[in-house]
């Protein structure tokens, strides 16, 4: 594969990395910081990447590891940020009801433990197969499925108004 093709493959993933990072950290600037770190690491290790491998999975793995490091650091020095819903909610929505539901969903996502949030987003937003998610997160598939289940059940309760997202995300 020529260098230019390889470069294009990585660039093609940037919008997806940004979308996932945005949903994961909930803040545009911090999401792009994460993407930037991920890309820098990716470029510098591109030579190590197996050219027959899945470049998307590889980049998402880098991002996952970077975010896991950041979360570990944040846990040592807890920091609670208000969720910026205006940063997330689309400007135009058909109706009030849908707006409320999406607002609840954004809060619910933010309130999920980061392990569950990652699985729910990789599956639901990035539409990855369960095996691919297991590879990226370096988890057995059974663990992926149970995190997916717990995360989604919690979101269901949030959307039903049963479980207000009390837990603030630790960023």
């Amino acid at each position: 594969m020529a260098d230019d093709e390889l470069r294009q493959l990585v660039i093609d993933q940037i919008p997806h990395l940004r979308r996932y990072a945005m949903a994961l950290v909930g803040d545009r600037d911090r999401a792009d910081d994460l993407v930037q770190d991920c890309l820098e690491r990716g470029w510098s290790r591109l030579k190590l990447w197996r050219r027959d491998g899945n470049i998307r999975a590889w980049l998402f793995t880098i991002m996952h590891n970077l975010n896991a490091n950041a979360v570990r650091q944040a846990k040592r020095r807890p920091r609670h940020d208000p969720i910026d819903e205006t940063a997330v909610l689309p400007a135009t929505l058909p109706n009030q009801e849908q707006r409320l539901e999406l607002s609840l969903l954004a809060q619910g996502i933010a309130a999920l433990p980061v392990e569950q949030r990652a699985v729910v987003l990789l599956v639901g937003l990035e539409q990855m197969r369960y095996e691919e998610v297991a590879g990226i997160l370096e988890l057995p598939i059974g663990t992926v499925m149970s995190r997916l289940h717990r995360g989604r059940e919690r979101l269901r309760r949030t959307l039903a108004g049963e479980a207000p997202p009390a837990l603030r995300r630790i960023k």
Partner: protein, 257 residues
Amino acid sequence: MTAGPPIDRDALHALADGQLDPAEAETLRAALADRPEARSVADYRRINAGLHALYDATLDQPIPDRLLRGPQAWWRHRRWARAASLAAAGLALVIVGAAGGWYARDSMVRVRQEQTAMVRPAAVAHRVYVAEVRHPVEVTADQEHLVRWLSNRLKKQIKAPVLESAGFRLMGGRLLPGETGQAAQFMYENLQGRRLTLYIRNDVRGARETAFRFGQDEGGVNVFYWIEGPMGYAITGQMAREELLPIAKLVYEQLEG
């Protein structure tokens, strides 16, 4: 609603996510027809749709420049690295040969003086601050402000060399105590996260002026330095001498050129 054999939890998610093959999906849909689990599947789908409604806008937004800067810089760096690797062998021999000549003529005393005056303080400052994740520099690379500030404190017009052609970007700098005066450190980083420092002090004593020299401290940090009156300059990195040399040359040319 009918009660029946429990339906596999994972299969409900797989159905919602379209990860069952068509035959399995058909069978499961039929089995779910009048079962409460059907609601779970519908809710999971609603959650997925909601995620797209919330976050898909990002896909259509233009990619910020800073995210594309990486590839461009990396690409430039690769081109540079290829050219440099061809040139490096020959160049390194010439310079190291010259430095070797100096050492042969010089007394060990003088080498030790320079070790104390330049190599060790530069290497120690290097090791202490390159390891910092959160605060590697005291003032970030607002070039003009940084250089003006450090020039004022060192009472000498200094400048921060531009090392982009070698793949290193200025991160910022800090003020450090010298022995009797002040010292400054500029820090640079490349895309791989490797860091270099330029150490400048204004209070060199007990060492005469010297041309461009190579030294190494006990910790294996490599240093190229030169002394000019009371001023000492040292470019320091935890990298092979052959790798550091072309960068040190670049610094020397910009500061002395």
